[in-house]
């Protein structure tokens, strides 16, 4: 409990770094005044906006002002939508979280057993077939896969809708696309981890003492092999978000990823920062969860 509290207290540290980075990069790559006001602004309008956004002061000072607003929960007003940026982002968050969680769950449920199968039947047909599939999955661009899936399941077979968010049937294709992007990693990491554990002394001993292959695998190998795979989940979250941007675009999924990318092009800084903030919070909290799960699985990991 004390551990959890301490970790939660540390959450703002990486957040501030992420926000600072985005803030500086956006300021460096485009003058917001040029984008917000366009060419027809009068010098007075320009001066007003510069003062309002504190653009006449050094970047560090600008960032200070920005953090002060942030501390009050104010992410600013979206340039395009003329509404509170955080409000716009929160409207989209549910859709993205749904897609991410389901995609990740799907990848775990398929990827880990497949990885175990590869290890158990090492150098035999299942290992070969699954490894080849993993390599294909890894090298196939999500964009292309998504369009192929639409072609097959929505157009040729007519089983599923092409796009949009709605009932269960709308979730299938985006989830599969996103999961395909992740499964190969889970297969390959699980395979290596299980193989390594199988060579450990305690496994050999267990077998020597008469434990069957299945019992050895379930009781001795898997609990020890699973930890590297769980850490992988934490590491994959960033990539997953990248995959979500593409998946959301192809399947017209109303999520944060698409919103963020279009906001970057429009230099709608408040929206970009609010969405990066939310995504960062999600990833940080999910990683915290991963740590807790790891500790629960492996008593050697002490949470201090």
């Amino acid at each position: 409990m004390r551990y959890l509290l301490r970790r939660l207290l540390l959450v703002p540290v990486p957040l501030i770094f992420v926000i600072a980075f985005v803030f500086v990069v956006l300021r460096l790559t485009g003058d917001p005044v040029a984008i917000y006001l366009g060419l027809d602004a009068t010098p007075e309008q320009e001066a007003v906006l510069r003062a309002e956004l504190h653009l006449d002061e050094p970047v560090v000072v600008q960032f200070g002002y920005f953090l002060a607003d942030l501390a009050q929960g104010d992410f600013g007003t979206s340039i395009q939508f003329k509404r509170a940026a955080m409000e716009v982002v929160m409207e989209r968050l549910g859709a993205t979280l749904q897609l991410l969680t389901l995609g990740l769950a799907f990848a775990i449920l398929l990827g880990i057993p497949a990885g175990v199968a590869c290890a158990v039947w090492k150098d035999k047909l299942p290992d070969f077939a699954l490894s080849v599939l993993a390599v294909i999955g890894q090298s196939m661009p999500s964009f292309w896969l998504g369009i192929l899936l639409i072609q097959l399941f929505a157009l040729d077979l007519g089983w599923l809708p092409t796009s949009g968010r709605g009932g269960l049937e709308h979730l299938v294709l985006p989830t599969v696309t996103l999961a395909t992007f992740l499964i190969p990693n889970f297969i390959l990491v699980t395979r290596v981890s299980v193989l390594e554990t199988m060579r450990e002394q305690f496994v050999v001993t267990a077998r020597a003492r008469g434990a069957g292959a299945a019992r050895a695998l379930w009781r001795h190998v898997l609990p020890n092999a699973i930890n590297p795979v769980v850490s992988l989940i934490g590491l994959q979250l960033g990539r997953l978000m990248g995959g979500a941007v593409i998946t959301e675009t192809i399947f017209a999924w109303p999520g944060v990823g698409r919103l963020m990318v279009s906001a970057i092009f429009q230099r709608d800084v408040p929206i970009v920062i609010a969405s990066v903030f939310i995504v960062a919070v999600t990833i940080i909290l999910a990683n915290l969860l991963v740590d807790l799960v790891q500790a629960a699985i492996d008593p050697r990991i002490r949470l201090r």
Partner: protein
């Protein structure tokens, strides 16, 4: 291990439970549209031009444009200038707001006053920038005063939605814009950011109830997905079919393509301040070097049109029927270059954005290839929007840059970008500037037309830009859809559309 599996299971269950709640079955008798650009706002005050496509489902202007960019009566039945700086609008009688209360002159005055208030942030404010006041004559008559004579007031008003005084004052603008109460053919049901906008027919609409009971506008930003949704029968009409996907619709009997020339003129503009394009012969040579007809076939699928050697499209007020495009003539281009002292050619580049206009990068590449063949070794430079905005501001857009100017039916709106005050062009011509000012401040339509015709001649000779194409709007629809026509101004007009 067990605990781990349980955690995963719990996670999957939570997600699945969450899904059950949200249902998106399309209600019966619903017209479904696949929108290419889905505005993140339904407020008349916010968002880009295309927000109007949403706004005008529920709200209406005093004077509207029709699908051909002609002005037609909307909330005003007729209008006339009572003085050069005062226009009188006679409002339609018997119009009701969606809440059942009558529409009156007070609503018009309220809207115009708040739009023109310097404190108000309103996206299309500049459309009626010259307005200095509004007076209520009686319940069904208003007079709008302008600072200087304004022939374009009615056209400008076509982009201003008239809002209800009572509800806006009661709820505040922000809240009132969230759930529109308008006078338009469709009533608000639900708007889900980035996903869909649901509306239902207004049975009391003054123009008669819509042909369909419900309307759903869906966000489908990706071209291939949009086409797939039409093929699968999920949408009845889709906006903007990508040119490379045209065949997949054309080959199906149950689907149709509808195209219209928009009022967006795609041009390649020159920086005439610097060599080699400070020499008019070089600019004319580039015009001769480009085979626009072939490009129209290849890059735009034969839809849209080649501009007739002038900025405006044929349907725009101000079009000069006596000007024709320079023909494709590579020999002549080379001769002109030699005459200007560039027998050995030169190196230059075209700046363009990507995805801003239909086939923009493809068109720039093809033009660059043809210019290179004629001796001007041209490369293409694709820029991101924010970088483009900075170059615009620095007034250094490079030797050639590709841009689309839209007129919404009147030459005033796009010739302005070639005047000295516009900051959008490096070319300057005293006669052109003078004609533009004159045309805008007379109410005599004949005199305006004459002025624009002369301006087109000047531009044709001077070639500040190569006038390429009137870009098409290409939409796809199911063959069972009737009464649909894509609009030149790209707004969705769906009141009379039905599905068999």
């Amino acid at each position: 291990m067990k605990r781990f599996l349980m955690a995963i299971g719990a996670m999957a269950l939570t997600v699945t439970a969450g899904i059950g709640a949200s249902l998106a079955q399309t209600p019966k008798d619903t017209l479904v549209i696949g929108a290419a650009v889905f505005s993140d706002s339904i407020s008349p005050a916010a968002g880009g031009y295309l927000t109007l496509s949403f706004v005008y489902q529920t709200w209406e202007p005093l004077v509207a444009r029709d699908a051909d960019d002609k002005l037609v009566p909307a909330l005003a039945e007729r209008w006339e200038a009572v003085e050069p700086t005062k226009w009188r609008f006679h409002l339609r009688r018997g119009v009701k707001w969606h809440d059942g209360t009558p529409f009156t002159a007070a609503d018009v005055k309220f809207t115009i006053d708040y739009v023109t208030n310097p404190q108000t942030v309103y996206a299309r404010k500049s459309r009626i920038a010259g307005v200095v006041g509004t007076d209520i004559v009686d319940d069904h008559t208003v007079e709008i005063r302008t600072a200087t004579p304004s022939a374009l007031l009615a056209r400008g008003l076509a982009d201003i939605a008239i809002e209800q005084k009572a509800s806006t004052e009661k709820l505040g603008i922000k809240e009132a814009h969230r759930k529109p109460i308008g006078t338009g053919p469709w009533k608000y049901v639900e708007w889900i950011a980035g996903d869909r906008y649901d509306l239902t027919a207004n049975p009391d609409y003054w123009g008669g109830p819509p042909a369909m009971k419900n309307l759903r506008l869906r966000s489908l930003p990706e071209g291939a997905t949009r086409v797939a949704s039409l093929v699968a029968g999920e949408t009845h009409i889709i906006e903007e079919v990508p040119v490379d996907l045209l065949p997949s619709i054309e080959k199906r009997r149950n689907l149709k393509i509808d195209a219209v020339e928009s009022s967006v003129s795609l041009v390649l503009s020159f920086d005439v301040r610097k060599p080699p394009f400070n020499d008019v012969r070089v600019r004319q040579a580039m015009d001769y070097a480009i085979d626009k007809k072939t490009m129209l076939q290849q890059m735009l699928g034969g839809y849209g049109s080649v501009l007739d050697g002038q900025l405006v499209t044929r349907s725009t007020f101000g079009y000069n029927p006596n000007i024709k495009a320079r023909p494709f003539d590579r020999a002549k281009a080379k001769a002109l270059l030699a005459e200007a002292g560039y027998a050995k050619g030169f190196d230059t580049k075209i700046n363009t954005m990507q995805g801003r206009y239909l086939s923009d990068v493809d068109i720039a590449n093809a033009a660059a290839g043809m210019m290179t063949e004629a001796g001007a070794r041209t490369t293409v430079n694709v820029l991101e929007g924010a970088v483009w905005a900075q170059l615009d501001r620095a007034r250094d857009q490079g030797p050639i840059y590709q841009v689309g100017w839209f007129s919404v039916g009147d030459a005033d709106f796009n010739t302005v970008w070639y005047t000295d005050g516009s900051k959008r062009n490096y070319w300057s011509n005293a006669e052109f500037n003078k004609l533009w000012e004159e045309a805008r401040s007379t109410l005599d339509e004949g005199a305006r037309l004459k002025a624009y015709n002369r301006m087109m001649e000047i531009m044709h000779e001077e070639v500040p830009s190569i006038f390429l194409f009137g870009l098409p709007r290409i939409s796809g629809r199911s063959a069972s859809v009737q009464g649909w026509q894509p609009s030149r101004d790209s707004l969705l007009r769906l009141h009379k559309v039905s599905v068999k």
